[in-house]
Amino acid sequence: MIKITEKAIDVQKVIETASSLSAGAVNVFVGTVRNKSHDKNVVWLEYEAYEAMAVAEIRKIIDEAAHKWDLLGWAVSHRIGTLKPGEVAVVVAVSSPHRKASFEACQFIIDNVKAKAPIWKKEVFEDGGEWVDARPISASMNN
């Protein structure tokens, strides 16, 4: 299951989707909104995705992971829209017969989703907002 959604993510459901009766291990990464960034208070985050392409890119990443590790189940859910600190932005869950593979595959997937999936976030502080990583830090800090 690959899902880009405006609704709150049900972590338990994502885990169940990735689970398998023949898997002993499920590894889950939950990315949440932090209340601080660059020592400033985060009021909220805006996420947007190029949806069709994001799903296609995540599918490629999953295929690559399934080629490297013995995966029995997997699920990726990414939220878009307005998120408050503490809310869940992304969940990746994978199951495999043994735990080492579940850790490695889950980390591979989230690392690549963050690096390649066309999804963007804007951090909104008390004094304005900023697209994360869009510009060099020195430039963006002067905004």
């Binding site: 990315g31 996420y47 947007e48 995705a49 190029y50 069709a52 392409m53 994001a54 296609a56 990414h78 932005a89 992304v90 989230i110 989703v113 963050k114 690096a115 390649k116 999936a117 066309p118 999804i119 963007w120 976030k121 804007k122 697209w131 994360v132 990583d133 869009a134 510009r135 060099p136 430039a139």
Partner: protein
Amino acid sequence: MKYTLKTFGITRDILGGREVDFEMDGMKVSELKSELAARFPEMKSLNSLLIAVNNQYAADDLILAETDEIALIPPVSGG
């Protein structure tokens, strides 16, 4: 040629629209990038800019068609 550009993240703020018509003589991805930088100097301040054509990241020498779905991909920051 007349292309339609989908914009995301900071490129939407710079180009000022979700879908932007863009006329230029060139037909290559590399030419689109230089034209964007020429017409919107702020584009040069981005850490990177990729172009996606029909939901795939495109190489610089790809030839664009007016019917392609062309998207500007500034640095991603999901997760």
